[in-house]
Symmetry: C2
Subunit: 211 residues, 2 copies
């Protein structure tokens, strides 16, 4: 029985999404699992929950911890890391552009490039220069792609995909959805991929008790 | 060079502390790491942060997710699990009692028993019956221990230990502290134990970048 696909829900402004975006394709390949990249606007989700910014900004103690946690995790994973001087960075333009990549087959490498700009190079990414540079580096036709990205239809598509994230119960990023199961956070990446290859229902309903 | 000890900061009301409390001694033994159990009042920490209850109660979407996450993780770890009908459970009496166990050498088995009552048996634990039963099951002198636990000195000790948790920057539970490093959450248990055996400084300050 083939593995089920795993949806990877992310936002370019989300630091823990960076950790997953850089690793998910290699890990999924090892397990022969297909990844479906699902960009959504995390800020919209936060606002609907009543938060005016990231919890890492609103809760100073947790925010301080998060940057230390990120440095340790990047060292562990062998990923480059520089704490962004602006957080959370807006990413509306690259989030619109990356949707085109879902159709054209370059969503993963473009996403890794955006994430690297934000979290390893401390660069603003919500502008034509950064996005154009990333597209060109990948050998893509930047003007044609930007034209597609900025249509009303595509803008609406990103809004709809964000609503879909809310309907799935997402309250943060990254999220992973597999066989109707939601997993939240980079810490659940392995569990989500393992779920893709489960062939029988897991005994993990609320009454589950060994013995 | 011997491994550094790892402090394990927990509250009996904290569901993710349950996952660590049940597993930490076996995992630490494998790595020859000493565990120092550090009970603290998580509710006091939350109140000081402006939260009137657990974030899993205050944020309904996250709360719903957490119970599913717990069921999955318990299935993965082979731990019994029943969603508590009261959450978060108060645990002031057992938290006072467990401090005596730190002096007398039974803090780990008593903690596992309290956690099991709360998260596998759905029993209230903040009463003399539950605490007395747990002590007696361990072959301990329940009346003598309860007398020690209820002295003003011991109550003050728990308050001081909670202040120490705040001074360490703890904003949730469980927490692990090793060599001055704070790790938050059951998901960091392995990383905290690994930190205990690090012999040279890790390259994980904010400017860390491979190459």
């Amino acid at each position: 029985m083939p593995a089920s696909p795993v949806e990877f829900w992310f936002d370019f402004g989300s630091n823990y999404s960076y950790l997953s975006a850089m690793r998910i394709e290699a890990l999924a390949r090892e397990q022969k699992v297909e990844v479906v990249w699902k960009p959504f606007l995390l800020g919209v989700v936060f606002k609907a929950l009543g938060w005016e910014s990231s919890p890492f900004v609103l809760q100073k103690l947790k925010g301080d911890y998060v940057w230390r946690d990120m440095a340790r995790l990047c060292a562990k994973y062998g990923l480059p890391w520089r704490q962004p001087s602006t957080f959370p960075r807006t990413a509306l333009l690259p989030m619109r552009v990356v949707l085109i990549g879902a159709d054209q087959g370059w969503i993963a490498p473009f996403s890794r490039r955006m994430m690297t700009m934000n979290f390893a190079e401390d660069r603003d990414i919500d502008n034509l220069d950064a996005v154009g540079e990333a597209l060109t580096t990948l050998g893509l036709d930047a003007p044609a792609i930007l034209a597609l990205a900025l249509t009303d239809e595509n803008k609406l598509r990103l809004r709809r995909q964000t609503q879909q994230a809310q309907a799935l119960g997402l309250f943060g990023a990254p999220g992973f959805v597999c066989n109707g199961e939601l997993f939240w956070g980079n810490d659940r990446l392995h569990d989500a991929l393992a779920w893709a290859t489960v062939t029988e229902p897991r005994a993990c309903h609320p009454d589950n008790q060994p013995e």
